[in-house]
């Protein structure tokens, strides 16, 4: 009785009846290239040979063997060797014997089970997210404390202030951000003015667009737009920088050399941001007013002279002050969120990505919350 499960040029496993028992004769290349076919061969052989006692595996015909083949032979031997039957491997050349010995040390029962899906998962996640929210608040407050302590140290010993680093970050977050911030606020100013004129014209109130533009840009739009852009541009960069330093143990190295990462890395970044955002807000507001004025002139027929006169009546210094008071606070919020997220990065690239995303999302969220708080506050004191 000779049955053969053969593959062209590839491996084969021949079944030969030998007296009482059965011999499985392996031949061909038992290598990774043929692994899918080998897996099928071995599975079939296991089924058929299951009923027979006294099975032996003859591997003398094998031309090439690697770990895939060696493991499959070993697996065959083990599975046949169960329930009383005896399986031996014969015809093993000395070269391959050591390889088979290597895979023989592998246990099969050691496979750790994979955790399955269940209904509990999502609910548990929801709970953990809620807890994580409180942890976030705590982390933000403790970072704020650490930064204040760092600033205190600078006040006590001004020489410890890292001027070079601060100037470097100021260049990154302020100077290099100017073109894009000015461009975008300019365009937004144009759009707001155009929409205002379009709708106010129905009531014959074209010229009130100047009031709207002035108040909106100086009080809200300038600082909000700039904060959101800075969160996306510089907050994310801070998180990624600190996060990758954390990943490569650079922050631990700093600490062991007796430096406080807060002083070396975080305070200069925050100071740079707190200086940058008001400057950018001012530039952004001017660009938006300029854009709005341009549209009012070209599209609404309000000439520049009339625009400026109207603007002088419509806005007071309070509107400008409100915007400028908010700016450094927004900067601090963005900076602190970015640094907390950066230091929370764990070892993997995925974690870096997650925290960078979280940094941007959370800082924009907090910026808007703070803006609401400010609105209530300023309404309360009547400006």
């Amino acid at each position: 009785m000779t049955q053969q499960i053969a593959l062209e040029g590839g491996p084969s496993l021949e079944r030969i009846a030998r007296g009482e028992g059965l011999a499985l004769c392996a031949s061909g290349s038992w290598t990774a290239r043929f692994a899918p076919a080998l897996e099928r061969l071995v599975a079939e052989a296991e089924q058929i040979a299951d009923s027979k006692p006294n099975v032996s595996i003859d591997v003398s015909g094998i031309a090439r063997l690697d770990t895939f083949g060696a493991w499959l032979i070993e697996r065959l031997r083990r599975n046949l060797g169960q329930d009383g039957a005896e399986a031996r491997i014969s015809g093993l050349s000395t070269n391959y014997a050591s390889l088979v010995d290597e895979v023989r040390q592998v246990g099969t029962a050691e496979l750790p089970p994979k955790s399955g899906l269940s209904l509990r998962g999502p609910i548990e996640k929801l709970g953990r997210t809620m807890y994580a929210f409180f942890d976030d608040i705590v982390a933000l407050i403790s970072m704020m404390g650490a930064v204040l302590a760092g600033l205190g140290r600078i006040v006590i010993r001004p020489t410890s202030f890292r001027l070079t680093s601060t100037v470097h970050h100021l260049e990154q977050v302020c100077w290099r951000a100017v073109p894009i911030i000015v461009l975008i606020t300019f365009l937004i100013g144009c759009i707001v003015a155009q929409q205002g004129i379009f709708h106010f014209r129905k009531f014959g109130a074209d010229v009130f667009v100047v009031d709207m533009l002035g108040v909106l840009v100086l009080r809200e739009l300038g600082v909000l737009l700039v904060s959101i852009m800075v969160a996306g541009r510089s907050g994310s960069a801070y998180t990624a920088e600190l996060g990758s330093m954390k990943m490569r143990e650079e922050i631990d190295a700093l600490r062991t050399m007796g430096f406080d990462p807060i002083d070396v890395l975080i305070v200069p970044r925050l100071i740079a941001l707190v200086l940058a955002v008001p400057i950018l807000t001012f530039l952004g507001a001017m660009a938006a007013l300029y854009g709005g004025g341009l549209v009012a002139w070209v599209y609404g027929g309000v000439d520049p002279e009339a625009f400026l006169l109207r603007l002088r009546d419509a806005i007071s210094i309070d509107h400008f002050t409100v915007g400028m008071i908010k700016a450094p606070v927004m900067a601090a919020v963005i900076g602190i969120v970015a640094c907390v997220e950066g230091l929370a990065v764990q070892g993997s690239a995925e974690s870096l990505g997650r925290h960078t995303t979280a940094s941007v999302v959370k800082s924009i969220f907090f910026v808007i919350v703070m803006d609401g708080v400010f609105a209530i506050f300023f309404a309360g004191i009547g400006i």
Binding site: E39, D66, W71, V106, T108, M247, E350
Partner: protein, 257 residues
């Protein structure tokens, strides 16, 4: 240098430059099929750069490199993939994928090239882990949760995942304890014997050079300044080789003054 009958890697007159400094300057090297070549040289000599140049990660200024008889500069995409399927690389820093577990790291190349059942994949993964001397319970850990030596071993398991014909090992035993390093040399030997593996091994480990390597090539001044067996190296009069193979550490390994 003797011409090999059947070189698996053939490097001719290769020059690599970063900015104004020539790291490799007209380098020739043959790696023969089935041998373990130990590659030594001072730190910063350009061993890693040569490895990366052969693999094609660093562009070369001039010269030609053939692997498996195929010039990778002229090879098409499919041909290049065919070559990549046949080699495995252990980077000096491990280069494990940080967002994948050990299991996923090792299975990643296998899944790409072979359609196997999850069961066989897991079993092969465990077999590879045991072969490189790790316990199977690390299988679901992330690289950041492993020790330095464990990272090396997992990276080696990944390099060997597809049972390649040629492996590049950049300082495989640095960061391993001496016993682990000895086991490692043993493993490389076994694989060479059984799989006909060719190994290009950058190393500073004198023990490895003695016990594992068939031949040693020495890099200096951007060239291979010597190549041969360990006995040739010990007989060499080159000053760097003399201090390398007859220094205090070397005497400790050989056990003779």
């Amino acid at each position: 240098m003797t011409e090999a009958a059947d070189p698996i890697i053939r490097v001719r007159d290769v020059t690599v430059q970063f900015g104004a400094t020539k790291v490799l300057n007209g380098l020739d090297l043959d790696v023969r099929r089935g041998e373990i070549l130990g590659f030594v040289g001072p730190s910063g000599a350009g061993k890693s750069v040569l490895t990366r140049t052969i693999i094609g990660l660093v562009p070369k200024l001039s010269g030609s490199i053939e692997v498996f008889g195929i010039d990778l500069d002229k090879a098409g995409k499919a041909e290049r993939r065919g070559v990549e399927r046949r080699w495995g690389i252990l980077f000096q820093q491990g280069a494990l994928f940080s967002s994948l577990t050990v299991r996923q790291n090792i299975q990643f190349p296998v899944r790409e090239y072979l359609k196997l059942s999850q069961r066989l994949l897991d079993e092969i993964t465990i077999a590879k882990l045991v072969m490189v001397g790790l316990k199977p319970d690390v299988i679901d850990r992330y690289p950041s949760e492993l020790s330095g030596g464990m990272i090396k071993r997992v990276a080696l398991a990944r390099a060997l995942a597809l049972d390649p014909e040629l492996v590049f090992l950049d300082e495989p035993t640095s960061g391993l304890d001496p016993i682990g390093a000895g086991d490692f040399d043993e493993l490389v030997r076994t694989l060479q014997r059984t799989l006909g593996l060719t190994v290009f091994m950058v190393t500073h480990d004198l023990d490895s050079l003695h016990t594992a390597c068939d031949r040693i090539a020495v890099l200096g001044d951007g060239k291979v300044i010597a190549a041969g067996t360990i006995a040739d190296m010990q007989a060499s009069q080159h000053p760097w080789l003399r201090s390398y193979f007859h220094g205090k550490r070397a005497r400790a390994v050989v056990g003779s003054p």
